[in-house]
């Protein structure tokens, strides 16, 4: 008979006491192995990327990145149990297919329920890949204030106002900000719906532009124009893109 593989779990919470209680409740579950504890979002992204846990106990309000932002940056299959004192994120948590949502303080019994949910999920292998979640975490009517990009286990936080323009690259987008470019798995149309429409315009099938970077617009052939940015970069504008700019400026 094959010995059952242990479930590898990561605990992410910025409060030591909160991590401690999860550890304590896990003591009666020898089938679960705690592979690490993280106290902020950056650490969590690093650990999840490097260690590939099966199960993550994830706080929502944390320094650097919140729990949802952590998930957005990860493309792994895993079970997520949110643990928080705030009940207003519950809906969003289930939109990102969290296994469970524990409200602080919680009992051992309630915690065990969450664990059995997670185990049931492992058996049926019903966890979605996280990129599917990411699309949900970013939907909604909130305007995106910062873009998150992961390179390996490193995370870049790009405030929206520092972004010059974004170019479509198949399934990826290339973000130009602060003199360098970042690649992120996302489509241009997805991004377009999330950015501030007063600042960012889809000027072309393949480009979203921060209109504050425009110095001038030039006509270079009949009916086709280019926009010239402050750093001298030239980007094509479609006719509908030109109409949008005219309307906004």
């Amino acid at each position: 008979m094959k010995t059952e593989k242990k479930i590898r779990a990561l605990i992410v919470d910025d409060e030591a006491l909160s991590r401690q209680i999860v550890l304590e409740y896990l003591a009666s579950h020898p089938e679960i192995e705690v592979i690490g504890e993280c106290s902020n979002g950056f650490e969590a992204v690093k650990e999840i990327t490097e260690q590939d846990p099966d199960l993550v106990f994830l706080d929502i309000q944390m320094p650097k990145l919140n729990g949802f932002e952590v998930l957005e940056l990860i493309d792994k299959k895993m079970a997520v149990v949110f643990i928080t004192a705030y009940d207003q994120y519950a809906l969003k948590a289930f939109e990102v297919h969290a296994v469970d949502y524990l409200l602080k303080p919680f009992s051992q019994q309630r915690f065990d329920e969450a664990l059995s949910q997670a185990k049931a999920g492992f058996l049926s292998k019903s966890f979605p890949r996280i990129p599917e979640m990411a699309a949900v975490t970013q939907s909604g009517d909130l305007i995106l204030e910062r873009l998150l990009v992961r390179e390996g286990s490193q995370v870049h936080v790009l405030p929206a106002e520092t972004v010059d323009y974004v170019e479509a690259q198949d399934d990826y987008i290339q973000i130009q900000a602060g003199g360098r470019s970042y690649l992120k798995q996302m489509t241009l149309s997805e991004l377009e719906t999330q950015l501030d429409r007063k600042r960012f315009l889809r000027i072309h099938r393949s480009y979203i532009l921060n209109i504050e970077r425009i110095t001038k617009i030039e006509l270079y052939a009949k009916d086709s124009r280019v926009v010239i940015l402050k750093d001298g970069k030239r980007l094509p504008i479609s006719r509908s893109g030109y109409d949008k700019i005219k309307k906004l400026l």
């Binding site: 006491l17 401690q20 409200l103």
Partner: protein
């Protein structure tokens, strides 16, 4: 209350208007030829003043027959007949008085008031009565709308007061949930710590209930309350939370609205310490210079955190309360750098009158 009789100033103005009318009537009486000037004045002034008071009574009739749709016929009937009646009474009295004065002037020979003058008086009486009625209706309507306005204003004040009361008693429930979670975690490994935290929490809640019920408290009490709140948060955040309280003893006895600091300190934790991996220092400073009280609350913030675009409820509440209490005598300034957030509160230094 009668809108004219009850106010001396209005009554004087009203009677003056009637005196002017009385002078007009004097002219008419003189032109009738039977009376000389003094007699004409003696005739018309008492007569006009008498009718002035008769017309004042129209107010009660107006109250008895409020303006309502569908009642117009009834109103016309009532006021038509009353005006005719009172004018007739006035005219009869007037001609009697005319006759009496004329007899004195003409040494016994009977003098009738000329028919033309009788007609003029009667017509004038009717018109004046109707005029008074309209004026009273206008006054009643005006009074009613002013009353409605005042009631509305009173309601608004009342609502504002109620709002302020709830604002002041607001303690973030998540603080309680987080604290209970910490206690729950301590129970197994550090029972003494769990008990300590329970006691701190109880003390804080009791203090905030007691102080919250008062209108104003000493700055020292408010500071103690904030410090006991931070003491509890220290258990949750551990090394990440440091507190520095630099107080000016001469400011301790100044009066401030209770729980004024609470939302600000909560913000300092929520938007400051909680967002920083290494935490930081919350510093509270009080200073008194003469009649001014200054309070500074400062906390570190995460440079990379997105600037909060939404309204800051806690700060807004405090601003509203100070505004309601001190108006332009209080001020709140926010000074932010990339890494620090500082609130400066300026209040009049009030002390209890001993």
């Amino acid at each position: 209350m009668h809108p004219i009789l009850a106010y001396r100033g209005r009554l004087a103005l009203y009677l003056t208007a009637w005196l002017v009318l009385g002078l007009l009537m004097t002219l008419l009486a003189v032109s009738s030829g039977n009376l000389d000037w003094p007699q004409a004045i003696l005739f018309s002034i008492p007569l006009s003043l008498f009718f002035a008071f008769v017309n004042l009574s129209a107010y009660y009739l107006c109250r008895a027959f409020p303006l309502e749709r569908g009642q117009m016929v009834q109103l016309f009937a009532v006021f038509g007949s009353v005006s005719l009646l009172s004018s007739a009474l006035w005219t009869v009295l007037g001609s009697g008085w005319y006759w009496f004065l004329g007899q004195i002037a003409n040494a016994g020979a009977p003098v009738q008031m000329p028919a033309a003058l009788v007609g003029v008086f009667f017509g004038l009486g009717v018109v004046l009565y109707i005029l008074s009625v309209s004026v009273f209706y206008l006054m009643i309507e005006f009074e009613r709308s002013a009353g409605a306005e005042r009631r509305e204003f009173e309601l608004k004040m009342f609502a504002q007061e109620a709002e302020l009361k709830t604002l002041r008693s607001q303690i973030d429930p998540h603080f309680l949930f987080n604290s209970l979670n910490s206690i729950s975690a301590l129970t197994t490994n550090d029972p003494a710590g769990a008990r300590g935290m329970t006691l701190l929490l109880a003390e804080f809640l009791r203090k905030s209930l007691n102080l919250g019920a008062k209108d104003k408290i000493h700055l020292a009490e408010e500071l103690e309350l904030s410090l006991s709140f931070l003491e509890i948060e220290k258990i949750r955040f551990g090394e990440r939370l440091q507190v520095l309280c630099d107080r000016d003893p001469s400011a301790d006895h100044c009066l401030v609205p209770p729980l004024m600091f609470q939302p600000l300190i909560e913000n300092a934790i929520k938007h400051g310490i909680a967002g920083l991996v290494g935490g930081g220092l919350i510093s509270i400073q009080t200073r008194r210079s003469g009649s001014l009280l200054r309070i500074f609350i400062e906390n570190p913030i995460d440079q990379e955190a997105p600037k909060k675009s939404g309204v800051n409820l806690g700060l807004e509440n405090v601003t509203k309360r100070l505004d309601a209490m001190y108006a332009e005598k209080a001020r709140i300034d926010i000074i932010t750098t990339d890494t620090r957030y500082r609130i400066e509160i300026l209040l009049p230094a009030e002390e209890e009158e001993s």
